[in-house]
Structures are given as structure tokens and as C-alpha cells.
């Protein structure tokens, strides 16, 4: 009796995860993502991105269904056999769901389903049945689901030191496949023989290349992990701060060098994309100060994008589009961009502080709603008739200056890349310095507990104002760069999208983490820019990514490194401490004291 309930308790997560995986599969198929991504060959002539998308849900369902057991406060790896069984169940159910859906569609008739769900095309059915007809196709889906489920379940049971290198290697192969428009160009530029790695016919990785990437990344990761584990086994004093600092400096220099050389090798497409990434990095760094450091949710940060873009355009001189052709707006200065920029920054800071003034007493949800309204007000104002003589109303502004420093042009992706890089580096430096300074501590304290921060002597209204002002200043630089990059400032309904995207970047990367912001922007802006297939599903992917990150890794991709490391090291340092000093916490019953 007891055994049966135990078995049921361990199987039901598998069933549930399998159903969710199956629904995810059906959804991906019906919105057309699987078909749209099927023309992108990642490896050889067989593995397409669509196929990866098809394989991911059963694998993920099985992986998530196999939960590690917690025994006496300790997390234990699940047994391989139970992982296998639960995985097969989860994956099999996922496969069964999509197979059943396929049969239903066949029974109704593809064309009739298509009249409602436009993405359900004969090509999609062809992909899902692997061109083998419905009978064999459903069998393949079912068996494939079970096989993937088994793999996902067993994957979870692997030792960490084994699983991590394998996961990194799989990720690296996929990433190299996705980078097929960039990596070959770089290799050609470096005149490295690359035909063995990237095929000239399919543009994707060759099988040889995929295996090579897999083996190399897996062994490098394994080596790094091994070395780190050995370093951690030594007493803490061994890793001197100076040694760490030296390695960090070397790494930073290498990174800087790589970023400077990259556009020369990778061509203009990459510079173009990285330029956009740079604009969003600036916006997200600004928001990171308000939301990440000071803990105030800001849903209208896109307003600073507008403020930066418009003030840069007007200060450097732009033209309005009217029925009578291009005319100068009622207000315009013809300043050099670099003279205008400090003014733009000042405007951003002042507007940020002005917004903060009425919301100083608000917290949490209320603050979020007011900031959301602020974003909308800014968007409506710039398109209003009232401001039309200055902002150009719905038509916006054109002919924003393109003159950079002597001979450089903002319109040139290569030149713009360096401009964006410079400002991003500057903003990152400012963020980093502030985080570890007295100001950053005050923000942190405010984020943790506003009332207590107040009682400990932090002037919270002042620091709220400061966070909004500095965040607004950094964000408006992003807007200004966007204006000179594109040359036009056209308002639309995209401000709310800018706000959401910026927030998504900060959350994905990890609130309060500067490297996280950069990675978040690369993932959410860079990857979709690389692959035209992503464009249509961009918002769907954002939503999916955000939900996944909230459930699986709420601290973000790159959380505050120092703190997460400390958490892992706790046990070890505590042991070392106890050996040296004895346990200060060891309490004996104070019999003598008690008697008094």
C-alpha cells in the first residue's frame, strides 16, 4: 500500500511535466515556430533549429520532472534508474500529446484546420511526421519523445562535474550553429581554414565541426571545473587577492582587446547588431540603478529613451516633416554632438528627478503603476499636436546630425559601434564604482528595507531622487545614441516595448548585476538580430524566456557573483574557522549562571 502511493508520488510529476511539455510542443507547432525555424540548418543537413525546438520540450519536461530528493536538509541526486523511468514517462507523454494532436489534425483535414490556424500547413505536417506519413510519423514522435525523455531524466541524475561540461558543450554547439553568419566571416578574415567546421553549402556546422566543438568545449570546461575544485580544496589563504586581481585584469584586457578588434573581423552586420545592443545596454544600465540597486520597479523607463533621443536631435539640429517639406523645428540648436551630450545627460537627470519627486512616498506596486503612466505620458506628449512644432508630432524628426569626431560618421555601423562601446564602458564603470561605494550601500539598504534604512540614518528621499536622476542620465545617453545612429526620431507605439525590453534585459541578466545587463542585452537584442527567423517571434521568446528565468533562476543569468560564491563557500570556510578557533557558537548550559 505504502509502496504504491510512493510510486504514484514519484510518477505524477513526470505525468504533469509530460503534459506541459506536450502542450508546449503543440503550441510551438501551431504558432508556426517549428516550421519557421526548420529552414535554418545548424549541423550537417539533418539538424535544423526547428528540430531542436521539437526535441527541447520532451527533454526539458523529463529534466524538470526528475527532482532531486532533499533528505535531512541535504540535496541528493536522484537515482539513475528512477530518472530513466520518470524521464521516459514524461517524454513519452509529451510525444503522445503531439502525436495525438497530429492525428486529430489529420482526421479533421489539414486545410480545414489551416483556415483557423494559419500556421498549420502541410509543410508543418511534413516536418512533424519526418516525411514518413502519419502512421510512422506518430510512432516516431512517440518513441522519439520517450528517448529524449530518457536522456533528459538521466541527464538530471548525472554528477555535477560531468553534467556541466556536457551541458556547456551542447550549448556551445548550438551557439556556434546559430552564429553561422558571423563565425565563418571572422575565420575567413583571420584566414583560417574553416571548411571542415562550417559547410559552404548548408552554412551550418559540419558534423565534424560539431563534434570538434563539442569535444573541445566539454574538455575545457571539465578542466576548468577540476582546477577550481582543487583550488577550493586548498585552504582559503592560498588564493591570494593579488593573484585574483591579476587574473581579472588580464581577462578584462583580453575582453577589451577582443571587443575592439571584433568589428574589423566580423563585418558590418555584427557591428550593426552590436550597436543596437549597446543602445540597450545603456538603457538597461540606467534602469539597473533604479530597479537593481535601489529596488524601485520602473515600468516606464522607455521615457528616458525618448527624452534622450529627442533632446539629442533638437540640440544638434534636426528637421520636421510637414506638408510643406522639411522645416526646422521651433526650437533647435546646432551644437556639436559631443557638446550636446552633456546637456542631454543633464536633461535626463533632471527629468528623472522630477519624476521621482511626486513618487517619493510610493512603494512597490503603486510606484510601478505611476512609472508606467509616466512612460505613457512621455510617449503621448511627444506625438501631441501641442508639441508638434518642436517634436514633429507623429512624423517625428529627421536629419539628425551624423557628424561624429573628425571624419567618423554615426551612420557607419563600424564607427557607431566604437561610440556605443565607449559609452557602455563608461556607464558600466560608473555603475560598478557606485555599487561598491557609500551611495551604493545606501541604495542597497533602501532596497532591502526602506524604513530601517531611514532609521539607520540614510536620507531615503534623497537617495531615491539620486537613483532616478543617475538612472535617467545613463538611460538618456542610450536614447541620444539611438537618435544619431538612425538619423530619425520616429515615435510610435514602441516606447512601451522599449520599457518592457529594458526591464526584461535587467531581469534576465540579474538585478543589480552589470555583467548580467550586458549578457541580457546580448541574448535579447543580439541573438534576435542575428537570425531573421527570430524577428516574428521576438515577443513570444521574450515572454517564454522571462517565465523560464523566473521559475528556474530568479536571481538572473549572472547574479551578483561575489555573493553567490560566498554562499557556496560557506560550509568550507565555516569548517576551517572552527578548526582554527573552535566553535564560538558552542553553547553549554550555563548551570552556574542560571542558578542565580
Amino acid at each position: 500500500m505504502r509502496r504504491r502511493s510512493e510510486v504514484r508520488a514519484s510518477i505524477s510529476p513526470g505525468v504533469r511535466a509530460g503534459l506541459i511539455g506536450g502542450i508546449a510542443l503543440v503550441y510551438l507547432a501551431m504558432v508556426g515556430m517549428i516550421e519557421a525555424f526548420d529552414d535554418l540548418l545548424l549541423i550537417g543537413e539533418q539538424v535544423t533549429l526547428g528540430l531542436v525546438l521539437l526535441a527541447a520540450p520532451p527533454f526539458a519536461a523529463a529534466f524538470l520532472a526528475v527532482r532531486p530528493r532533499v533528505v535531512g536538509g541535504r540535496v541528493e541526486r536522484p537515482a539513475p534508474l528512477s530518472g530513466l523511468v520518470i524521464g521516459v514517462i514524461a517524454g513519452g507523454i509529451s510525444g503522445a500529446v503531439i502525436a495525438a494532436w497530429l492525428l486529430i489534425v489529420e482526421a479533421i483535414g489539414v486545410e480545414r484546420v489551416r483556415s483557423v490556424f494559419v500556421a498549420v500547413s502541410p509543410q508543418l505536417i511534413e516536418i512533424l511526421t519526418f516525411g514518413q506519413g502519419v502512421a510512422v510519423g506518430t510512432l516516431i514522435l512517440l518513441l522519439g519523445g520517450m528517448a529524449l525523455g530518457a536522456l533528459g531524466g538521466v541527464w538530471r541524475t548525472l554528477r555535477h562535474g560531468l553534467r556541466l561540461p556536457l551541458s556547456v558543450a551542447v550549448g556551445a554547439v548550438l551557439l556556434m550553429g546559430l552564429l553561422q553568419r558571423i563565425a565563418p566571416t571572422i575565420l575567413d578574415e583571420l584566414s583560417v581554414e574553416r571548411d571542415w567546421l562550417y559547410s559552404k553549402v548548408t552554412f551550418g556546422l559540419t558534423w565534424l565541426g560539431a563534434v570538434a566543438v563539442f569535444v573541445v568545449t566539454a574538455s575545457v570546461t571539465a578542466f576548468v571545473i577540476d582546477r577550481r575544485e582543487r583550488a577550493e580544496a586548498r585552504p582559503p589563504e592560498a588564493g591570494t587577492p593579488q593573484g585574483r586581481r591579476a587574473t581579472r585584469t588580464v581577462l578584462l584586457l583580453a575582453l577589451a582587446l577582443g571587443l575592439i578588434v571584433l568589428p574589423q573581423l566580423a563585418g558590418t552586420i555584427v557591428s550593426e547588431i552590436l550597436g543596437s545592443v549597446g543602445v540597450y545596454v545603456l538603457l538597461a544600465l540606467g534602469l539597473n540603478i533604479v530597479t537593481g540597486y535601489a529596488g524601485m520597479l520602473h515600468l516606464g523607463f522607455g521615457a528616458f529613451f525618448l527624452i534622450g533621443a529627442y533632446s539629442a536631435a533638437l540640440l544638434t539640429g534636426a528637421n520636421l516633416v510637414t506638408a510643406f517639406g522639411l522645416v526646422a523645428p521651433e526650437f533647435s540648436a546646432h551644437l556639436n554632438f559631443y557638446v550636446a551630450l552633456p546637456i542631454v545627460i543633464a536633461i535626463g537627470a533632471v527629468v528623472g528627478a522630477l519624476l521621482a519627486a511626486p513618487v517619493l512616498r510610493l512603494r512597490g506596486d503603486y510606484l510601478a503603476i505611476v512609472t508606467l503612466a509616466f512612460g505613457q505620458i512621455a510617449a503621448i506628449l511627444v506625438t501631441s499636436n501641442w508639441l508638434q512644432p518642436i517634436t514633429g508630432g507623429p512624423q517625428g524628426l529627421r536629419d539628425v546630425t551624423d557628424a561624429g569626431l573628425s571624419g567618423l560618421s554615426f551612420r557607419d555601423p563600424q564607427d557607431f559601434y566604437y561610440l556605443a562601446l565607449a559609452f557602455c564602458a563608461l556607464a558600466a564603470y560608473v555603475s560598478w564604482r557606485l555599487a561598491s561605494a557609500r551611495t551604493g550601500r545606501a541604495w542597497n539598504a533602501m532596497r532591502e528595507d526602506e524604513q530601517v534604512a531611514d532609521a539607520m540614518g540614510v536620507n531615503t528621499p534623497r537617495y531615491k531622487l539620486l537613483a532616478f536622476a543617475i538612472g535617467g542620465a545613463i538611460g538618456s545617453v542610450g536614447g541620444a545614441l539611438f537618435a544619431v545612429k538612425v538619423g530619425t526620431v520616429q515615435p510610435g507605439s514602441f516606447e512601451i516595448l522599449v520599457s518592457i525590453t529594458t526591464l526584461a534585459i535587467v531581469i534576465l541578466g540579474g538585478l543589480g548585476s552589470v555583467p548580467g545587463v550586458v549578457v541580457g542585452a546580448l541574448v535579447l537584442i543580439g541573438l534576435p538580430g542575428l537570425l531573421s527567423q527570430f524577428e516574428e517571434y521576438r515577443l513570444l521568446i521574450y515572454g517564454g524566456v522571462l517565465v523560464a528565468i523566473m521559475i528556474l533562476r530568479p536571481q538572473g543569468l549572472i547574479p551578483n557573483v561575489r555573493r553567490s560564491r560566498e554562499l557556496q563557500e560557506d560550509e568550507r570556510t565555516q569548517d576551517a574557522w572552527q578548526q582554527i578557533f573552535g566553535e564560538p557558537e558552542a553553547e553549554q548550559e550555563p548551570a552556574a549562571e542560571e542558578a542565580r
Binding site: V430, L434, R438, N444, E448, D454, M456, D570, P590
Partner: protein
């Protein structure tokens, strides 16, 4: 001599409930004064009014002969009044050292530009903040030193959280420290140790201490003067013996114990 802290006739009500109903008290410099009273007697409200978290409806709060009614909490902290909370309120995700460093905030002044350009004065000040914070943590012996300073506050044991909260208050360089039930939830040994800490705060650091406490051994052991409250009013004042034998106090506060 004017008292360090003087509370005159403060009233604070929440709707129809009078948490404080014309309470008077004073604390002289160098004194350790205990406030006792049953739950809901208005003791914590008194602390919240003194530290500026609540504004009193009536009455006057004077610190060093200066009225501080209407001051913001951070201004009152800067004047030299520090406090702990009844339910420990730390900054849980900041490290132990950072928690204490926040305490130094009101004694320092470096700002954004100093941080960005790393001016020598900012660096010096940061060094100073660090040293003072470490000194405040060192007040409790080895418990908050060493590797613990780099740990986030939420990993600390309950007793250590209480100690850290006191260390953070000490790091504000106060003249007067308000302790709200510092021994709540501590075991007997920790309680006795804390009693010594409270006395040391006065003897070694020269602080004046106003403490809310339920543990009568602590009250007896530390207090120069005891003030008993009930229903937002002072019902007795004097030495521990005087207050403990006061019939009104026994009825209001120790009554349950006498009955049991």
C-alpha cells in the same frame, strides 16, 4: 542638568486606540533606563515616536534640549539616537560588514562624484567607514568578526542577527541607544551575556541606554532606573526594587505571575 532625552506628555493614537496617552519620561546622560510593561502598553510606539518613525499627536520630544518632533528618522539618527527593532530588521542580503557600514552612513559624506573619480578623500573615508564598522562588530567579541563579516546577514544565527543589529546601531556613533527587547528569543546564557554587553555599552562606550525588556533578570541587572507603563501612561518609576513592589505594577504587569 537638562536630561539627554526628555519626553513630555506624548500622545499617539491609531484610530480609537491610544497607544500613548500622555507619557512623560526623561533619560539623563550616562543612565541605563529600562521600560517595562505588558504587551500593548505602548513601549515600541514610544521608540517609534522618539526615532521619528511616527509623529506624535500631542506632546514634545526633546533630545539635548532641542525639540525633535517632526524631524525625519535619518536626522534623528544623525543627532545621535540609534535603535534596534523588536523583530530583528537587518539588510538580509548585504554582508555582515556592509550592514554595519550602513550604520556609518550618517557620519560620512562622500557622494557620487567621489565614488566615480575615486578621489583620495573618498578612499580615506571608505577606509574609515570600514574600520569603524569593524570596531562596532568587534564589540561582541569574535562572533561577528573574521570570515563572518563577508557573509550575507541572512545566514547568521538568530542570536547573531540580534548582535549584528546592535552593532549596526553602535556603528552610527550614537549618544543614546534604544534597544527594543534585545534578549527576546535568546537562550539563558546569551541573555546573561547580553546583560553584560548593555552595561559595557555605557561603561566602555559612554552611551546612554534606554531599553525595553521583559526579562526581569536583565532589568534588575542593568537598570539605574525602571519605568513601568500601561495603557500608554507611566504607572511607576524608580529603582528596580521600588517598581517591582509597586502595587499598580504588580497588578498590571506582574499580576499574571502572582496569580500563577
Amino acid at each position: 542638568m537638562t536630561p539627554l532625552l526628555e519626553v513630555v506628555g506624548i500622545t499617539k493614537h491609531f484610530g480609537g486606540l491610544y497607544a500613548l496617552a500622555g507619557l512623560d519620561l526623561h533619560v539623563d546622560e550616562g543612565e541605563i533606563v529600562s521600560v517595562i510593561g505588558p504587551n500593548g502598553a505602548g513601549k515600541s510606539t514610544l521608540f517609534n515616536v522618539v526615532t521619528g518613525l511616527y509623529e506624535p499627536d500631542e506632546g514634545e520630544v526633546r533630545f539635548q534640549a532641542e525639540s525633535i518632533v517632526g524631524f525625519r528618522p535619518n536626522q534623528i539618527t544623525k543627532l545621535g539616537v540609534a535603535r534596534t527593532f523588536q523583530n530583528v530588521h537587518l539588510f538580509p542580503n548585504m554582508t555582515v560588514l556592509e550592514n554595519a557600514m550602513v550604520g556609518q552612513h550618517c557620519r560620512t559624506r562622500s557622494g557620487v562624484f567621489g565614488a566615480i573619480f575615486q578621489t583620495p578623500s573618498t578612499r580615506r573615508e571608505e577606509q574609515l567607514i570600514r574600520e569603524r564598522a569593524k570596531a562596532a562588530l568587534g564589540f561582541f567579541g569574535p562572533r561577528l568578526t573574521g570570515y563572518r563579516q563577508e557573509q550575507p546577514a541572512f545566514v547568521l544565527s538568530y542570536a547573531n542577527r540580534r548582535r549584528l543589529e546592535m552593532a549596526r546601531a553602535l556603528a552610527t556613533d550614537p549618544k543614546l541607544i534604544l534597544l527594543d527587547e534585545p534578549t527576546a528569543g535568546m537562550n539563558p546564557r546569551e541573555t546573561l551575556e547580553l546583560r553584560d554587553h548593555i552595561v559595557r555599552m555605557r561603561d566602555e562606550l559612554g552611551l546612554t541606554v534606554l531599553v525595553i525588556e521583559h526579562d526581569m533578570r536583565v532589568v534588575k541587572g542593568v537598570s539605574d532606573r525602571v519605568i513601568a507603563c500601561d495603557y500608554g501612561r507611566k504607572i511607576a518609576e524608580g529603582t528596580y526594587e521600588e517598581v517591582a513592589t509597586d502595587p499598580q505594577v504588580i497588578e498590571a504587569y506582574l499580576g499574571t505571575k502572582a496569580a500563577g
